[in-house]
């Protein structure tokens, strides 16, 4: 409308003040992450691209998955500054817990802790869709999914980020068997199958989604073993 130009940059306000008012504390760096929980393992995957303004590529080799301990892995998408800060925050809490209680924090406690930390910033949120994954005390895989202000849900699988609407239906079909036809085979969810599904999902996103690409970073956490990592190349466009 005619007013839009004036609203945007009024003559009677100084340019510096206009610029301050327009400043956004958040920026979205794009990309996506996924986590799938199995009987005694959990597979977490992400792409490794950071973008600006959806179109410019800032970095092609960024780690979005971070292992906080042998049994707990945090991954997130959204504003990268907040992602980095959340890692620092959780690491600090895990360390303090270890010194106070002389044992490592379990994944369910860490999940509640993260939900609380996110809600503490209810009125100036961490702009991230966090996923916490790990092996619980019974040796089973667990995936916890969050919204930016700490709504927590434990799920068998979860996706987050720009390609969430593309990956989630794919996982609903192949892992949750929700939309799979009756006659189709339902193979058991092993680590190999979970990794293959992840790779397929990311390749699908890289085809159709602008901010996902460059390479896939997979972290596989199994009960009783330190987390292991895999990387595969993806489309770079």
């Amino acid at each position: 409308t005619a007013y839009a130009e004036v609203e945007d940059a009024p003559d009677w306000i100084k340019p510096r003040l206009i610029k301050n008012r327009k400043w956004n504390p958040y920026s979205m760096e794009g990309g996506s992450t996924v986590a799938i929980a199995g009987d005694d393992f959990v597979v977490i995957g992400s792409d490794t691209r950071l973008s600006a303004d959806d179109i410019k590529v800032i970095n092609r080799e960024v780690d979005k998955i971070h292992a906080l301990s042998d049994r707990i892995v945090i991954t997130s998408s959204g504003f990268f500054g907040d992602i980095l800060h959340l890692r620092k925050l959780l690491e600090s809490h895990l360390q303090k817990y270890r010194f106070q209680y002389r044992s490592n924090m379990t994944v369910d406690l860490c999940a509640e802790l993260l939900a609380r930390q996110l809600y503490f910033k209810r009125f100036y949120p961490y702009y991230t869709g966090a996923i916490l994954a790990g092996i619980d005390e019974h040796g089973k895989g667990a995936v916890f999914s969050y919204d930016p202000i700490g709504c927590i849900e434990q799920l068998p699988y979860s996706a987050s980020g720009a390609a969430k609407p593309l990956i989630t239906p794919f996982l609903d079909c192949q892992v949750g068997h929700v939309t799979l036809s009756e006659g189709s085979e339902r193979p058991k969810l092993t680590i190999e199958r979970a990794c293959a599904l992840m790779r397929d999902a990311f390749r699908a996103c890289a085809e159709r989604e602008i901010t996902t690409g460059d390479s896939i970073h997979l972290v596989i956490a199994e009960a009783g073993k330190p987390p292991r990592q895999e990387r595969r190349k993806l489309r770079e466009d």
Partner: protein, 282 residues
Amino acid sequence: MFRNQYDSDVTVWSPQGRLHQVDYAVEAMKQGSATVGVRSNTHAVLVALKRAANELCSHQKKIYELDTHCGVSIAGLLSDGRILARNLQTECASWRWDYKQPVPVAVLNERMQLKLQANTQYYGRRPFGVGLIIAGYDKDGAHIVRTDPSAEVAEMHATSIGARSQSARTYLERNLDKFAHSTPDELIAHALLSLRDTLPAEDNLSAKNTTIAIVGKGTPFKIMENDEVAPHLAAIAGVARTTAVQGAGGAGGGNPPPPPAPQGGAPPPAAPAAPAAEEVRM
């Protein structure tokens, strides 16, 4: 010694220029069970004797991890020691939060010194009745730091505190030139041998009463107890005690260096000479 007149407060000097409360606190430290710290160019080792009050008790925890690159061993009032260890843990975590790097040991020394000194100068406080040995590895290399209730914080090549620690210090002084280039296992052996000297003749180090900790280049701080201690004790089992009956140059078996042979048949001193009693300082 009858010195009751000037020892009611830590803020009262005696005519001889002593703060008696601080001296008494140092005595409390000397009653804790012994602990030894030794360093080479690349590693720092702590060993500690865990005391159990009686058969039914578990042995107390004497070594605390502060961060991946440093740890502390305590002698004296262990509850005071735990507070200091927790304070140091907070300092380490706080530095990591701000700078994303492990805290330099020199910074820890400074903070510890100020915290300890505060309790020796204000009315109503009492000095911490505990001595610490901090072992750390940072970009300046390996460190062993000794603290006192008197707020004296000093970097050392090797030191020992606690009951009968003078015997350990004698061993350390005698073998000082061997430490700089020792391998980690040799360093642990030296530390254990010096710790063993603090025990009465009929007692011995065992997997239950000994804790070992090591940190250094490529080695995050690691505490070893019970089963993990046994191989290191086995390695020194063949070495005769320097404070025991002197056989002519006890031949140590295998890895650990043999204790020094007495020179020219002269018997080694049963009690250390006074000047040599001072711990080695940098």
